[in-house]
Symmetry: D2
Subunit: 347 residues, 4 copies
């Protein structure tokens, strides 16, 4: 029985992980750690778990909680992860981290975009970027996996096959993406109050969102060129869901959508969670909501010589919590899909 600890368990990502794992019989959540709710039953924080997961939240005493589990998922703000993870690694624990702290190969890029000094730069090279579709083999034996950002997962998986097959230029990549509000975390800030968000749509983080360099890093690695993307995120008045609309310059103006689709189907032929949609179909966030799937739709704009990729996932699913579980399954030697094949919630 795998023993799993979740540190930062009372945020939305943590709660989603508990939801997905609470009934698994091959692993056990042996500690839920929360600064804010230490000493309270988890099911008091999230009463949907009443009678299902009533364990008491532990406080953030790393030495104490470390003994309780062998694997840890950390869902902490960036900058905090770097203070917790080194001690867990020292104790031989294997970790999946949700923050941006260990996603970057180049510490300088991280420090520039996150405006902090990295306190454990020596661990960066030890970390594996936790996108199974690109790094499955490395994840298997990693002891530190950086769970990718939601926008990067949605964008990278949408672009990778086209870029790897040189169907599109690595220049002039434009990503306009949108997220449900849970992407901001469980916050009581006014801008996330119901009356401020409901019936409203807006862009945010224009030109400076921290997921930009993360997308660029992975795309650059795929094509061997330095990629600069134009990335604009938006906030949608819904709880879950993420969709990226990606505009790419076709290298061959005569290529058809079907030919592109073939390249995508081939690239992801062994991937259980990537669904390339048939001709004429487009992703919708609700079709993947609550699931670990990512849906990708392909269109060619012959007039503008552009490839339009629409990719959709659940920001709390393939964009964070369930993708972490996918990595955990891989690390632990379980069937990679275990507990993750459930369909999206149509309603």
């Amino acid at each position: 029985m795998l023993r799993l600890g979740i540190i930062g368990a009372t945020g939305y990502v943590g709660a989603e992980i508990v939801r997905l794992l609470a009934l698994r019989d091959d692993m056990k959540i042996t500690t839920v750690v929360s600064n804010s709710f230490a000493g309270q039953p988890f099911s008091e924080v999230y009463p949907s778990f009443r009678g299902i997961y009533d364990e008491i939240c532990d406080g953030m005493d790393i030495d104490k909680v470390a003994d309780k589990a062998d694997f840890f998922i950390t869902a902490l703000p960036h900058g905090v992860s770097t203070t917790v993870i080194p001690r867990l690694l020292e104790k031989g624990k294997r970790i999946i981290d949700h923050s941006g702290d260990f996603r970057f190969r180049d510490v300088k890029v991280y420090e520039e975009w996150y405006k902090v000094t990295h306190s454990s730069p020596e661990l960066v090279s030890r970390a594996v970027y936790g996108l199974p579709e690109l790094y499955r083999d490395k994840i298997k034996n990693a002891d530190l996996v950086a769970d990718p950002g939601c926008y990067p997962t949605c964008s990278i998986l949408g672009i990778a096959p086209a870029l790897a097959n040189k169907l599109v230029s690595h220049k002039n990549i434009v990503i306009s993406a949108a997220s449900g509000v849970s992407g901001a975390g469980r916050k009581s800030d006014l801008p996330y109050a119901f009356c401020e968000v409901d019936e409203n749509y807006k862009a945010y983080g224009v030109v400076n969102h921290r997921h930009t360099p993360e997308i660029e890093q992975e795309l650059s690695l795929i094509c061997g060129e330095e990629v600069i993307v134009s990335f604009t995120p938006h906030l949608v008045p819904m709880k879950r869901g993420m969709l990226a609309t990606i505009t790419l310059d076709l290298t061959d103006a005569e290529i058809t959508a079907d030919e592109v689709r073939k390249a995508y189907l081939d690239f992801y032929r062994n991937e259980p969670f990537v669904r390339i949609l048939p001709s004429g179909q487009l992703p919708q966030t609700k079709l993947v909501s609550g699931s670990n799937y990512i849906d990708i739709g392909i269109s060619v704009d012959k007039r503008a010589k552009k490839l339009i990729i629409i990719s959709a996932l659940d920001n709390l699913g393939k964009g964070s919590a369930s993708q972490a579980i996918q990595a955990l399954n891989i690390m632990a030697g379980f069937e990679e899909t275990r507990g993750l094949l459930t369909p999206g919630l149509y309603l």
Copy 2:
């Protein structure tokens, strides 16, 4: 391996049943029957099922589909069920029906409220009202189970312990309840269009909603008196969820909420899906959304000498689809809770 057919599978209740059963390894959905979508893959109607449940919908040819399964769940409009079910029964099939057709012991009451003539009145006495908390033993061996209505489930379970224990009068029962929009089914009628429903709250079916006599029938059976309730349903701009606010006349003005709570805890002490909330806590629809749980909160209004019961469930969960599966588990001899213990979707 139990073989299950779903007739009327492409409505919201049908889709929810498929969602809950698609990954079960002890039963198999061997036919999904749909008039409107015959010949189309189920995953084209609900693309969230792509790669998960891609079976082709069968047309409504009862003789043909009857052979494909041993158990059937029928999710058809009232009046249609009565034409389909007799033939399935003749063939020895066991059925759970979602319509109002077989919920009433007195055919006249049905005909008066539903404004139709019942075409199979002889089957009425054979049918069992599918509320496990009240009729578990009869469900076990039934071949025709009438899945209760959503409002009745929410109301009856909220009132039963108080009425059975004579803590409240059987007179003057006032139920004000509210439902998410999926309760109306998958309809393209204008009143259910997004722009008509969003940011709007209204009462409907005032004084004449068909769930009224269903509630009255069961409450009358519990207390042995003829119960007449005042029932007013409302429509809430959300997809799922149902909440009933029930105002009852206390027989003993001095009784405390804690004493009432004890009676409720005792009444439901063996029930896996009924959660009586502790003092000071109130149900919320999202805490049971996507689940088979019903949450019940208890308050006493000493000044007005009223017992205020708030009960919440998911109209597509304990209010229809998952309650049908609970009945199916019982009928088939499975563990009653199998596949149904998942928590509500907090987000």
Copy 3:
């Protein structure tokens, strides 16, 4: 040109008042007072006002702001109003107050339900309850008007004609009401965060909501008996809107809905903002959203011998901001309906 000051102008009620008055040519908002945003342009707090109302918010220095206007609307938390209003009255200002501080004739009732000591009890008898339909004449010359609560406005106007005409008993009044989220004010508390509220419906303040004694006070005055109501409010995932479902015991079991409707039409025959709906029609919150109207629908439940009144208004409209302006129009000698006849926002 009437000079109006708004104290507590940056809450939702304040912002709605500015919206309704910004373009009036017979009055001028000469000061918007805000503790939190003093020194900032109002249109920075609510950027929808950019170019329309860009005045700088004043700080809460009563002596200073008092000079700037002759009329004041105070939209402050209860307990705070009592500290501000005496000084404004001393200076000869006329005031409409939104808090509960001056709504009660009996200071003890206020203190019991609001759990505070009233700091200006001597002013209570000077205050007029600002419901024009009941107190128009007194409002005209008042210097202190207590703008009624939203639930009380919705409930009292829904019940008054039936009670005044003795069509219903003054006992056993059950009010189940629901409000949009803006009723809670502009708050950054977690329970009002989008992800917590969206797709959720719940009761709150069961048995102890502070609007209960306010409703009871006015109903008691209408019928000359001590009225105790059972009042249960709910929170609806929408921004604006309020609807009360009121269940009353008919004194004459044979009375028809049409007869009751006649009594209502007669009671409100000169009221420009009360709309009694024709037979078979029911109120919806969106039909009054953004307006000063209240819609009232009448149904008779012959079986249960109940009168079911459904009343709907906008909690920011007739439930607070525009009702205050209606009172202001009356006090200032303007046409009562000026600026308030606009229809609800269907979309």
Copy 4:
């Protein structure tokens, strides 16, 4: 007193026009024409107008209704307008048309994108594209004004200053835009049902949306080059609001956002409804919801050498109904801003 007729008055655009004009004292809506609701009071179709605008809808008998008014606004599906408008013009009426029928200078472009044959091509050159910011003088004396599409208004006004000033290339224009659901009209189609739309975000009309050539036509006229845009619209689960995220190639990589802003401020210096946001501020749909304003935010992505323009309007406001009234004010010689200066509905 100007006499105005609205043909196709019971759609959402028609209802919004009635809302904006019902209380005007300088014009009168003398006929509301509706095929579906002829003979019914307008306030039965939209009960928010009860007591405010109760006129009976006229049937679609053009000869009959033509006599009733001097100006007409037609809100009809494309292809239908062409059958109605010639007869109105013959009778000397002046018309503002909401459809796409008269927006194109080149009939072939219209016919190619709308897949119909234009039945009145001779009128095309007589029509003026009703964007006051570009064609104010021509609108003044026009007898046929084509009210621009919502996406084109939002896109063209966002791009015009940059393109006219050659700050950006006319090539490689990428527009990712999103609309509230009312943009689809008052439809009872399943894809617009509440349960299908709510909590969902999707792209639609990818590569083939009919507003594409309309945007291209106007941009080409501005820069004197043939412009091809990549345009991708999205559907947001909200009723009103539109936002375009426009990515443009800067011609001068060293230009700052402030320099661009100056050009925009200058371009629109006399425009009452275009608000160029200060540095660091971004548009939100709710800040213009219910109003005739368009908000434009400017960002420069130095790394990617892109200008990012975010523009927001209300699809029922500046995107259709109130823009038509702006044109009507101009045509009729009224103050252009009359009745249109109200702020957006923050809530």
